[in-house]
């Protein structure tokens, strides 16, 4: 039976109520549990909050597939996937801490408000101890702060903005996915090799927080190469037709177009930029190039042949050859008949990391789990040795630089790995000015 208790500070004392002599056959209980939603039965519930309607529904669906697979593996069904390859060997496929893992799902609609409502229902009604998911940074930041206040753990899935573990970092929130700064740091050397150090870049940037942090990060790392930023134009989210933003690029003197867009916006802006013949142009004696700093498989599929030869970065890709990736791609592919997307991988890994931390901590208490995750070093989950940095709860690992494949062999073979940028190259100080500077702090861990 779940005890609902959202702020133990605010709970009215049982004694006062019953002492008032209410002649009701009832027992008013304030909570006796040590932390929010302490699981008392034979199972523990996790909440997966992803967009199921709206523009990112496809990504949400792929995340859900991965969550479901992770839960199966935790409960000992299926082939175990990454349980066999991860460096920490605490998970034996018998649930977590002897409790069977159950999960609830919700629809964020990629709106902060709705995502919070859905997360609240998971916490208040279903009694989850952890929430994961998201496919937009605004939603991730909003849900992360809700989880902080409610006293449960938030394992962010798809969120790329610097703010999630930057100025909006929270003690109860953890991010495995990489961020805009890492994208910039990883892609810059590759760009310098491919396109030289004397380039003039034109940025089109989605006009909201993620777009701005990505533009800032990419501009900083390309300018460090010697590139010049000609212009940065903000475009409305969901503009659809980007022609009036692309047309001015042609005579701006720029020879590189950087598209700080994601999802449908990226599909449209890239396709339309190609339609305008930008990639056939010679400017300043150089071939004009387009760059999409953040790639995803679904976007690549949506843009079709337009991505050929376009550089971008990814957190992870199914074509990696390490044992962790192979194990995951095998179980995912056999179950769903398609390779997992990067979003699915993050969702899967975050669930396993949470379960592992709970096992190592020996409890579902958020603060103990947070302590177990802080500074945790692990391997065997795709992409090499990884550390959860204690200062900002950001994972540090290698970053993939990708390029659109020229002649894809099948519908999933759209991108190729150009380089695995070593982790040392994408690291930064926890008080980096792009991440809130010295002011940013995790605050205190909250058990509810």
């Amino acid at each position: 039976m779940s005890k609902m208790n959202f702020s133990r500070r605010g709970v009215l004392k049982t004694g006062a109520v019953t002492g008032a002599g209410l002649a009701l056959p009832t027992i008013f209980t304030s909570s006796a549990s040590a932390y929010t939603n302490e699981p008392t039965g034979s199972s523990v519930k996790l909440g997966f909050n992803v967009p199921q309607t709206g523009p990112y529904a496809e990504e949400g669906l792929d995340e859900l597939r991965a969550f479901e697979l992770a839960v199966q593996h935790l409960n000992g069904e299926g082939d175990g996937g990454m349980l066999n390859t991860m460096s920490s060997k605490t998970l034996g496929g018998n649930g977590v801490l002897g409790k069977k893992v159950e999960f609830v799902t919700g629809d964020t609609q990629t709106k902060s408000d709705v995502a919070r409502a859905s997360a609240q229902s998971m916490i208040q009604k279903d009694g989850v101890v952890m929430i994961s998911g998201g496919s937009s940074s605004g939603v991730a930041v909003a849900v992360q702060s809700l989880c902080q206040e409610a006293g449960i753990i938030f394992m962010a899935a798809l969120t790329h903005s610097n703010d999630t573990t930057g100025k909006d970092r929270k003690a109860n929130g953890f991010r495995y996915f990489f961020n805009a700064y890492m994208s910039g740091a990883a892609i810059a050397p590759v760009l310098s090799n491919a396109y030289g150090n004397e380039r003039r870049a034109y940025h089109l940037t989605a006009d909201y927080t993620w777009g701005w942090t990505q533009q800032e990060s990419i501009a900083a790392s390309t300018e460090a190469l010697g590139w010049e930023t000609v212009s940065n134009v903000l475009t409305p989210v969901g503009a659809g037709d980007f022609s009036s933003y692309i047309a001015p690029v042609i005579n701006s003197g720029a020879d590189v177009l950087i598209l700080n867009h994601y999802g449908g916006d990226m599909v449209n802006s890239l396709s339309q930029a190609v339609q305008f013949g930008l990639r056939d142009k010679m400017v300043n004696g150089k071939q004009f190039e387009i760059i999409v700093p953040l790639y995803s498989e679904l976007m690549a599929a949506g843009a079709g042949s337009n991505i050929q030869g376009v550089y971008g970065t990814m957190n992870w890709n199914w074509q990696l050859q390490d044992p962790g990736t192979q194990a995951f791609v095998k179980s995912f592919g056999e179950k769903y008949g398609r390779p997992p997307s990067g979003a699915a991988h993050t969702a899967y890994v975050q669930t396993l990391l949470y379960a592992d931390a709970a096992t190592r901590a020996g409890t579902f208490e958020p603060c103990q789990i947070a302590a177990a995750l802080e500074g945790f070093e692990f391997d065997g989950m795709g992409i090499g040795p990884t550390t959860y940095r204690a200062e900002d709860h950001q994972c540090f690992k290698d970053v993939l630089v990708m390029k659109g494949k020229d002649s894809p062999a099948n519908e999933y073979d759209t991108l190729e790995i150009v380089e695995v940028t070593p982790r040392a190259q994408v690291e930064y100080a926890a008080d980096h000015p792009m991440f809130g500077g010295a002011e940013a702090s995790l605050g205190e861990c909250n058990n509810g």
Partner: protein
């Protein structure tokens, strides 16, 4: 009583009773049973029922009485939310100043927008209000980010001044409260296999909503309300009598805008985050749909419509395939998969389909909305009792 007729007083008492008993009514299924999925008696959703009900009541004063269809009421909801969160950030965590400012500021915006939009009628009016709301949304999402915090939504911060409150002692964010009574505190009543949650925030919203309902009841029954109805039935004729109807419609517009602002303030008081999506045209459309679905111009209809849509959004969207499998596991394997497949189209990721179908079915089968459905059922029972003279007469 309260300046109401006897019938209205009884109606008001029924509404009060239903509102106060909501934690019981919405949790009819034992917590551990499979049907607990359909329980809606948890604080966040009950609060939303009350808040969106309040908003729909206010919207109905404009749309139901005057017939002016505003497609921009979400703007006032958003403005109310932003105002409330700013009050929490700058002044105090007490909810009263926050919701008062939310109401007043929304009223001010409604005065300006209404003054301009009401120069036109019919669909021209609708598009004017839509244009204002859509502009507010787009600017709040991007250019006004310093004030609204854009996509993420305006949030509280430990470093906010909060000049009236004592300096924070703990590292966690303060909670909106009514003179120290925190909005998120709840207590649970264990009754056998049932759990019922009583939440301070919900009861605060409920009291405000009941006051709002009472006010709307008074407006419906007042000469002012009659005047508004006259505008709906024939504005031309009214104008020919030498009467200027504009002040009346403007008053109705401002009142309903203030209701929306109050609702926005309450939303922020229950969960101190104000997102720009609250102002999007889909949010305005949602209020319109709530009102039409429940029954335009009826007192209770908009509240029912609000409850229905919020229920679908929060409950149906959470039913996933593994829950369906657990419900139908008693069926033979092949049949189970087929049944689950069919149901899965209507819940979880497919909950929009259910919503769309419900819109169509209700408007086709019940032209007067949900209220008419209720009346038909009531009539059916009444006729039955008349048909059976042996039944004991009603006491």
């Amino acid at each position: 009583m309260f300046g109401l007729s006897q019938k209205d007083t009884r109606f008001l008492f029924i509404v009060i009773a239903l509102t106060l008993l909501t934690p019981f009514l919405l949790n009819p299924f034992p917590t551990d049973s499979a049907l607990a999925q359909f329980n809606a008696g948890y604080p966040a959703l009950m609060q939303r029922f009350a808040i969106y009900g309040l908003m729909a009541i206010g919207f109905n004063i404009l749309f139901g009485l005057t017939g002016y269809l505003s497609f921009g009421h979400a703007a006032f909801l958003g403005i109310g939310s932003y105002a409330a969160v700013w009050m929490f950030k700058l002044l105090s965590m007490n909810v009263l100043p926050a919701i008062i400012l939310a109401t007043l500021l929304a009223g001010l915006f409604a005065l300006v927008i209404g003054y301009i939009s009401l120069r036109r009628s019919g669909i021209y009016f609708s598009i004017l209000t839509l244009a204002f709301a859509e502009m507010s949304y787009r600017l709040a999402y991007s250019v006004f980010t310093p004030i609204t915090n854009g996509e993420t939504g305006l949030q509280l911060n430990l470093k906010d001044p909060r000049i009236l409150d004592a300096a924070p002692t703990s590292a966690s964010l303060p909670v909106p409260s009514l003179f120290g009574l925190e909005m998120n505190s709840s207590w649970t009543l264990d009754l056998g296999p049932w759990d019922f949650t009583f939440n301070v925030g919900y009861y605060f919203c409920a009291v405000v909503a009941i006051l709002g309902f009472y006010l709307s009841l008074r407006i419906f029954r007042s000469p002012f309300g009659l005047m508004l109805r006259a505008i709906k039935s024939n504005q031309n004729r009214l104008n020919y009598t030498g009467l200027n109807s504009r002040p009346y419609t403007l008053a109705a517009f401002v009142i309903s805008g203030m209701y929306a602002g109050l609702a926005g303030g309450l939303l922020a008081a229950m969960d101190p985050l104000a997102g720009a999506e609250r102002m999007q045209w889909t949010a305005s459309g949602e209020v319109v749909l709530m009102t039409i679905m429940g029954g335009v111009g009826t007192l209770m209809g908009p509240v029912l419509g609000a409850g229905f849509i919020k229920y679908a959004e929060n409950i149906f969207s959470k039913i996933n395939e593994s829950i369906l499998h657990s419900w139908f596991s008693w069926l033979p394997d092949g049949l189970e998969d087929a049944v689950v497949w069919v149901f899965a189209r209507f819940v979880g990721e497919g909950w929009h389909l259910t919503l769309g179908l419900m819109f169509m079915i209700i408007v086709i089968a019940l032209p007067g909305g949900l209220v008419e459905g209720g009346q038909r059922i009531a009539r059916l029972f009444r006729r039955k009792s008349e048909d059976a003279p042996s039944a004991t007469p009603a006491e």
